[in-house]
C-alpha cells in the first residue's frame, strides 16, 4: 500500500464529495427554478445574483432550526433513518468513473471489479432509511409512505437489475471503468456513432440498448422516488409520506439523500449507456491534463442533462395510482427487460462480436 495511492484516493474522495454536495445543493435550486419556469413562474431569484445563494440560505435555515423529536417515536430508529437514507446514495458515488485520468491518476475512487453489483447492493440499502423513517415515526402517513416505498423499490429493483444484463452480455465485464472503455472503443451503447459505427451489428444492438436505457431510466426514477413514481412521499395524499414527522436537518438529510440519489442514478446511467466521460473527438487524460479535466466536465455535463430531464419529467407527468405502478413494474418493465436479454443474446450469437 503506497502513500501515493492513499493520498490521491483521499484527495479524490474529498474533492468528489465536496463537488457532489455542492451539485446537490444547486440541483435543489435548479429544481425550483426549472419547475417555476415550466409553470410560467420565476422561482427563487432574490438571494444573491439570480437567487444563486438560495441553497446556502436553505442549508442555514435547516441547520438552525430546532432538532425536534416527537414524543411518540422510536428514538433510535427515528435518528438513524435520515443517515441511512443519505449514506448509501453517497457511497454509490465511489465506484462511478467520473473522468478518465488526471496526471496519470484514474478518476474513480474505487475501481472494484464487481462495480454494478456494488452499486445495486448499496443503492438497495437506501430503502431502509425510508422504511425505518416511516416505521419509527409511529404515525399513519409515514407508515403508509414507508410501506409504499418498500414495495415500490423491491418491484423496480427487478427491472433495474434485468435491464443492465444486456450491457454485461455485450461488454463481458462488471467493472464500470471497463464499460466506459468499451464505449470509447465501440461507441456509446445507445448511440454508436463513434468507434466502428459503420458496423450494422452495432446499430442493431443499439435498439435493445435503447429499450434497456428507457427501462433503466424509468426504474431509476422509481428507485429515487421521483415523480411520476413519488408515491412514498405523495404530498397530496400522505402529507409528505415517510418524512411527515421529520423537521430541520433530519428532514434535510432525507431531502438531500433524494437528490444525491438522483445524481448517483444519473451518473450510473451516464456510465452505462451514454459513454461516461467520453465525448467524440476528445481524447482521454493520457494526452494531457487539460483533456483529463475536459473529460470530467463532460461527465458532469451529461449528469446535469439527465437531471434536467428528470426534473422536466417530474413537472410534466402526474403521479401513478398505486395499482398502476405495480402493474407497470411487474407486467411491463419486468417482461420487457427479460425479453430484451434474449434479444441481445440472439443478436450477439448471430453476429459473433
Amino acid at each position: 500500500m503506497d502513500y501515493f495511492f492513499i493520498g490521491t484516493s483521499l484527495l479524490k474522495i474529498v474533492c468528489l464529495l465536496g463537488f457532489v454536495l455542492g451539485l446537490m445543493n444547486y440541483a435543489v435550486y435548479a429544481e425550483r427554478r426549472v419547475s417555476a419556469l415550466i409553470q410560467d413562474r420565476l422561482g427563487p431569484n432574490r438571494v444573491g445574483f439570480a437567487g444563486l445563494l438560495q441553497p446556502i440560505a436553505d442549508a442555514g435555515k435547516f441547520l438552525l432550526k430546532e432538532q425536534f423529536t416527537p414524543a411518540h417515536v422510536n428514538k433510535l430508529y427515528y435518528w438513524l433513518a435520515p443517515c441511512l437514507a443519505m449514506i448509501p446514495a453517497v457511497i454509490t458515488m465511489s465506484v462511478i468513473p467520473f473522468g478518465s485520468t488526471l496526471f496519470g491518476v484514474p478518476m474513480v475512487i474505487a475501481d472494484v471489479n464487481v462495480g454494478i453489483l456494488f452499486v445495486f447492493a448499496i443503492a438497495s440499502l437506501g430503502v431502509y432509511g425510508i422504511v425505518l423513517g416511516g416505521w419509527a415515526s409511529n404515525s399513519k402517513y409515514p407508515f403508509l409512505g414507508g410501506m409504499r416505498s418498500s414495495s415500490q423499490m423491491i418491484s423496480y429493483e427487478l427491472s433495474l437489475g434485468l435491464s443492465v444484463i444486456p450491457i454485461f452480455l455485450l461488454v463481458g465485464n462488471l467493472r464500470l471503468t471497463y464499460v466506459v472503455q468499451y464505449q470509447v472503443e465501440h461507441g456509446w451503447l445507445v448511440a454508436p456513432f463513434v468507434g466502428d459505427w459503420t458496423n450494422p451489428g452495432n446499430w442493431l444492438l443499439a435498439i435493445p440498448m435503447l429499450i434497456s436505457f428507457v427501462v433503466f431510466m424509468i426504474a431509476v426514477l422509481a428507485e429515487t422516488n421521483r415523480l411520476p413514481f413519488d408515491l412514498p412521499e405523495a404530498e397530496q395524499e400522505l402529507a409528505g409520506g415517510y418524512h411527515t414527522e421529520y423537521a430541520s436537518m433530519k428532514f434535510g438529510l432525507f431531502f438531500l439523500g433524494e437528490y444525491i440519489a438522483m445524481i448517483t442514478g444519473s451518473g450510473i446511467i451516464t456510465t452505462l449507456f451514454l459513454g461516461g466521460w467520453h465525448f467524440p473527438g476528445i481524447p482521454d487524460g493520457s494526452h494531457g491534463w487539460v483533456f483529463g479535466l475536459i473529460n470530467i466536465v463532460v461527465f458532469f455535463a451529461k449528469v446535469c442533462a439527465l437531471m434536467f430531464f428528470m426534473m422536466w419529467v417530474r413537472w410534466t407527468l402526474p403521479r401513478f395510482r398505486w395499482d398502476q405502478l405495480m402493474r407497470l413494474g411487474w407486467l411491463f418493465f419486468f417482461e420487457i427487460a427479460l425479453v430484451n436479454i434474449f434479444l441481445v443474446a440472439i443478436i450477439l450469437a448471430y453476429f459473433k462480436f
Binding site: 415550466i38 409553470q39 413562474r41 410534466t316 407527468l317
Partner: protein
C-alpha cells in the same frame, strides 16, 4: 341512479401512452423555453414593479381623513364611522370648536382620530357612512410598522395620507 361513465376505447398506440407523454413533455418544454427567452411575462416582481399606476379608481386602500379647499378638516366627529366600523378599528375623541372660530357652527371636531391598521379590514364602510365626505379609502396598501403602536394611524398621519380634496359639497361655508 348510478351513472356509468363510459371509458374511452383506446387503440394500441394510445394504450402505450408514449405519444401522450411526448406531447406533455413538448408542452412543458415550450413553456420553459418561452420563460427562458422572456417571451412569457406573467409575474410582476413586487418591490421593483408595482401596481400603483394601474390601480382602479374604486381601489380600497388605507382609509384617510381629508381637508377641503378651505383647509378645514372635514370630519365633524359625529362618530358614525366609529359605530359602523365592523372590526372597531376607529377611535374618535371629539373636541369642541371655540366660539370665535370661523367654522364655529360646526361645533365639533375630532380631537383625536385613530385608526388601528392591524384591525382595519379595508371594507370602506366608514367612507360609505360618512355624512361629511370626510373619510376616504386611498390607494395606499403597503401599511407596515415594527410595533403595534406603529400600526395605529393617528390624526396627523391620516390627514397626511388624505391630503386636500376638491370638488365636494362645502356645506359649512359662511354664506349658507
Amino acid at each position: 341512479m348510478a351513472i356509468t361513465v363510459p371509458r374511452p376505447d383506446l387503440n394500441w398506440r394510445e394504450r402505450m401512452f408514449l405519444p401522450a407523454i411526448a406531447a406533455g413533455l413538448a408542452i412543458t418544454i415550450k413553456h420553459f423555453k418561452n420563460m427562458i427567452f422572456c417571451r412569457t411575462k406573467v409575474t410582476m416582481e413586487y418591490p421593483e414593479e408595482k401596481w400603483d399606476p394601474h390601480l382602479p379608481d374604486h381601489y380600497r386602500g388605507a382609509p384617510a381623513l381629508v381637508r377641503d379647499s378651505d383647509g378645514r378638516v372635514r370630519c365633524v366627529a359625529c362618530q358614525l364611522c366609529e359605530f359602523i366600523c365592523p372590526p372597531r378599528a376607529i377611535k374618535i375623541i371629539p373636541g369642541e370648536i371655540s366660539k370665535n372660530d370661523r367654522f364655529a357652527k360646526v361645533e365639533k371636531y375630532p380631537d383625536e382620530f385613530d385608526i388601528d391598521m392591524i384591525r382595519c379590514i379595508y371594507c370602506g364602510m366608514c367612507e360609505e357612512v360618512c355624512p361629511e365626505q370626510a373619510i376616504f379609502l386611498r390607494k395606499d396598501y403597503a401599511i407596515t410598522g415594527f410595533t403595534r403602536e406603529d400600526m395605529v394611524h393617528h390624526k396627523d398621519k391620516l390627514l397626511e395620507i388624505g391630503g386636500v380634496i376638491h370638488g365636494v359639497v362645502l356645506k359649512w361655508n359662511q354664506k349658507k
